[in-house]
Symmetry: C2
Subunit: 241 residues, 2 copies
């Protein structure tokens, strides 16, 4: 019997935002896979789970996921080979009949690296996969700024900030826009919001639920030190006003 | 000392999708507010929490929230008066120095009735409010169909189905579209997706995490019996394909 792979969203960083289901599975499984972005770094996911679960009796595997960058419309061969390796490593352990958990920060379905290997794991193997949703940093961000993502007939859109050139047509159609990973284009975005008179409708948040959390209601106060990978700008539109 | 109001997202229906934080607060607070949509109905939120928390020693308050329908661009006077009443009831209890939890299904910031009273609670009172995010039915839906909401440079949009006339321009710009509460326009939407050759890119899901859960990968199999308020259609776009 092949084991089951539980793909678990562990939330944005606060161990208290784990679900009961996540904790129960993590207590039960003998193996846990911790993805991490940099080969030498400590897995952030691991530090979250260690706050709640005793890991001393588990088999732990750190998996290095390189940043996924496309070359034109395709991923590099180096990258797809690495995903193949990771997929084989996971399949090999499950083939021993052990259940395992694969951790993702936030929710497994929102910008998580897990889906780069999902197709590989499904293909030609008899692995059972169950995905457990988690609190995403987007959900936490709106809780912290005390604003609805959407109410009644409103619509919202989430876009990676690299996509922000399309900002102007979006503004006419959506009540709420979430610009993800905004650090590299923050100053251009702030300038545009300023020109449009929208600075009062925007929030900057970063590292939510982690050490160094920042929630800045006035974008003019954001400086270089506040900018990092775990950043977003939330814009509440003025439609209907 | 006025009490603190904890606005808690309890997830989509499965008690196991409560967070550790939600459970801890629910155990600690002496009072719980259960909103419900129909005066005579049983609070769905209550049945979720009863799966995990002993409510026998708590003060429980059921709050009837009528459906929020706008008259033109405004809410009816009857509705805003009802919200005022609810706001006063909550403020009155917190003024006794008691902490309380206000439950919302899913996440408090995604289409929850709570935000109709948030402004009232903040206004002129010294209530402390803390919002605790929850797993939304949207997050659960993508976990169940094993699809990413977004990966890498992709963007996604969530719209109430009443808004679906704008569907065609959206399709060119977003990888993923979630049509919320789709029951009233389901057949028109299905026809449009069929005409566009997009039936294979869509899923119908309803009552996720509740009794009667339905996940239908082929929209042609959906019948009247499957349609209800807790429904959505997920469309994965063909951009980049």
């Amino acid at each position: 019997m092949t084991g089951t792979l539980y793909v678990i969203g562990i939330g944005p960083g606060d161990p208290e935002l784990l679900t009961l289901k996540a904790v129960k599975i993590l207590r039960d499984v003998p193996c846990i896979f911790f993805p991490k972005g940099k080969e030498e770094g400590i897995s952030l996911a691991r530090s979250v789970v260690e706050g709640v679960i005793d890991l001393s009796q588990k088999e732990l595997y750190e998996l290095h996921f390189p940043m996924a960058k496309k070359q034109g419309n395709k991923f590099s061969r180096e990258l797809t080979e690495r995903w193949d390796e990771i997929g084989s490593a996971i399949t090999g352990i499950l083939a021993q009949g052990k259940d395992a958990a694969f951790l993702t920060l936030g929710d497994p379905c929102i910008y998580s690296t897990y889906f780069y290997i999902h197709g590989l794991l499904q293909k030609g193997s008899r692995i059972q996969i169950e995905i457990i949703p988690g609190i995403s940093s987007i959900n936490l961000a709106f809780s912290k700024i005390e604003q609805p993502m959407a109410l009644a007939d409103e619509a919202f859109v989430v876009i990676p900030a690299a996509y922000w050139e399309s900002f102007e047509p979006l503004l006419a159609n959506f009540h709420t826009i979430v610009f993800m990973k905004v650090h590299k284009v923050f100053y251009q975005l702030r300038e545009l919001l300023s020109q449009k008179g929208l600075l009062r409708n925007a929030w900057y948040v970063s590292k939510l639920g982690m050490k160094g959390e920042r929630i800045i209601a006035d974008l003019r106060e954001v400086t270089d030190e506040d900018l990092n990978y775990f950043s977003m700008v939330i814009l509440k539109g003025r439609k209907d006003e």
